[in-house]
């Protein structure tokens, strides 16, 4: 099963991957990084910070501009991807397995909060 079959995507182009142990991985979709172009800077939050669904938790900068990244569900930051901070260009290579951003523990009603997220196929269709 490829990763795009397992993720849910937000309309603001974040993906959410359920790791099956009440933790989730969050990152940017391939569409998002393609639209951004060369990614040159990434600012991620401190671990154990908590964010509500929809809050800005990170910033990504392409050559042209800075963009905010929003929480697809409420959660507490367990781990950040240091490799992505040190070499933000890995997001352009692979934003799912290498260039993920944070791992979180869900702190809200995750089932309800996922309601507005789309499966990858539907997300791609929305873009067209």
């Amino acid at each position: 099963m490829s990763i795009t079959e397992k993720i849910l995507c937000s309309k603001s182009h974040e993906f959410l991957l359920d790791n099956g142990d009440n933790t989730f991985t969050i990152g940017l979709t391939d569409y998002a990084v393609e639209q951004l172009g060369d990614i040159v800077f990434l600012e991620l939050p401190e671990t154990s910070t908590e964010f509500k669904k929809g809050e800005t938790f990170a910033t990504v900068e392409s050559v042209k501009a800075a963009s905010e990244i929003y929480m697809p569900v409420s959660g507490k930051i367990l781990e950040i991807n240091e490799d992505a901070v040190n070499s933000p260009e890995i997001l352009n290579e692979d934003s799912y397995e290498k260039g993920w951003l944070v791992k979180i523990e869900a702190t809200g009603d995750v089932q309800a909060e996922q309601g507005d997220l789309l499966e990858y196929e539907d997300y791609k269709e929305e873009l067209e």
Binding site: V40, F41, S62, V63, K64, A66
Partner: protein, 367 residues
């Protein structure tokens, strides 16, 4: 209604990402801004800058008219030469920045920014009342291709260019059999040419330059890299670093303004007074001391107090650091070597004031 250049289909075929720039649908990048940037610094790149404006000014009073519009001395501009100019309003603020070329005894070509063509024309017409002069906007007739980079000259010679041109000169020449105006100018800090070609030949010439340029590893270059290239060269971008409330003296352009021009020009009293007595703000270059990126509109601080504002900023692919242009208070304590702070997402980040340009220009071609 968004405008398209005559090369629009070419950009789409090449897979460019198209964006709205000043009402024009333009390629921002074909593959990667950083890759395209390096191509221009190391090899040669081809840009479509057909959105820029071409205004032909001619007539008995052409010199006197242009002399009233710009601080530069048009009387001293020789045949086939170009000069970088500004278009000040009556307060010395800039309506646009321009390059003026002398094409004939009483015939001049004015190249203006795409976003300012209408303002420039209005201003020119308003100022033309007492002059016997013809102002002819022919922007819609021409495409403008820029061939920039250390291999630009070699490439165009293989395509039949025979003129010997130093920088800031324009000639009529033939490239691949097509008659063009060709000037040794650009907006990248590299050596290179800008080629003004009739629209009906633009697609042919675009393809031919890419084809013949293959052996020089040519790439098409989008506006994204055009911006990072001009920023490394610390060339001003109208709308970011220049506007109607900024004088050329504040913008660090005094070098381009003759102090001995006798005739009056719009804004002269302000500009000359500022050259003599100084200004309250000045343009400086910033080098970020961490990985954060200063962008247009971010505030600049020193010792906790606000001293200015960033007008352009981004990564420098050549230096590997982030750079910016900012207007700061003009006093002696704020100079090259001074460490200041830029407010980025509510945090202060250190930046050092450095000399401009950030990357040494290589476009001073003398024969």
């Amino acid at each position: 209604m968004i405008k398209e250049t005559f090369l629009h289909d070419k950009h789409v075929q090449l897979g460019a990402k198209m964006v709205d720039f000043a009402g024009w649908c333009m390629p921002v990048q074909y593959t990667s801004i950083i890759e395209e940037h390096k191509t221009v610094r190391e090899k040669v790149g081809l840009f479509d800058v057909s959105h820029m404006g071409e205004v032909f000014v001619s007539g008995k009073d052409a010199i006197e008219f242009l002399n009233k519009l710009v601080p530069q001395n048009i009387e001293k501009l020789n045949y086939e030469k170009a000069v970088y100019c500004q278009l000040p309003n009556n307060k010395g603020g800039l309506i646009d920045d321009l390059i003026i070329y002398k094409l004939g005894i009483l015939e001049y070509l004015v190249i203006c920014n795409a976003s300012r063509i209408d303002e420039d024309l209005n201003w020119m017409v308003r100022n033309s009342k007492n002059f016997d002069v013809k102002i002819d906007n022919r922007s819609h007739e021409f495409s403008l291709l820029a061939v920039q980079g250390p291999l630009a000259d070699t490439l165009l010679r293989t395509m039949g260019l025979t003129t010997q041109q130093e920088s800031f000169t324009i000639k009529i020449a033939k490239i691949a059999g097509v008659k063009v105006f060709i000037s040794r100018t650009g907006y990248t800090g590299e050596d290179g040419y800008e080629i003004l070609v009739e629209n009906r030949h633009s697609e042919y010439l675009w393809d031919k330059i890419l084809e013949d340029g293959k052996k020089f590893s040519i790439k098409p270059i989008g506006l994204g890299a055009r911006d990072t290239l001009r920023l490394e060269a610390a060339l001003h971008l109208y709308g970011n670093d220049l506007d109607e409330n900024t004088t050329p003296v504040e913008a660090g352009l005094s070098w381009s303004i003759p102090k001995d021009k006798e005739t009056d020009y719009n804004g002269k009293h302000v500009i000359i007074e500022q050259i003599k007595n100084g200004t309250s703000k000045k343009l400086v270059g910033l080098k970020m001391l961490d990985k954060a990126i200063a962008r247009h509109g971010y505030e600049v601080y020193k010792n906790g107090g606000k001293i200015g504002i960033v007008t352009s900023g981004g990564p420098s692919p050549v230096l590997g650091t982030n750079i910016a242009l900012a207007y700061v208070k003009n006093n002696k304590e704020i100079c090259a070597g001074t460490v200041v702070q830029v407010m980025i997402r509510e945090k202060l980040h250190d930046a050092e004031i450095v000399k401009r340009p950030f990357v040494e220009k290589r476009n001073k071609i003398r024969l």
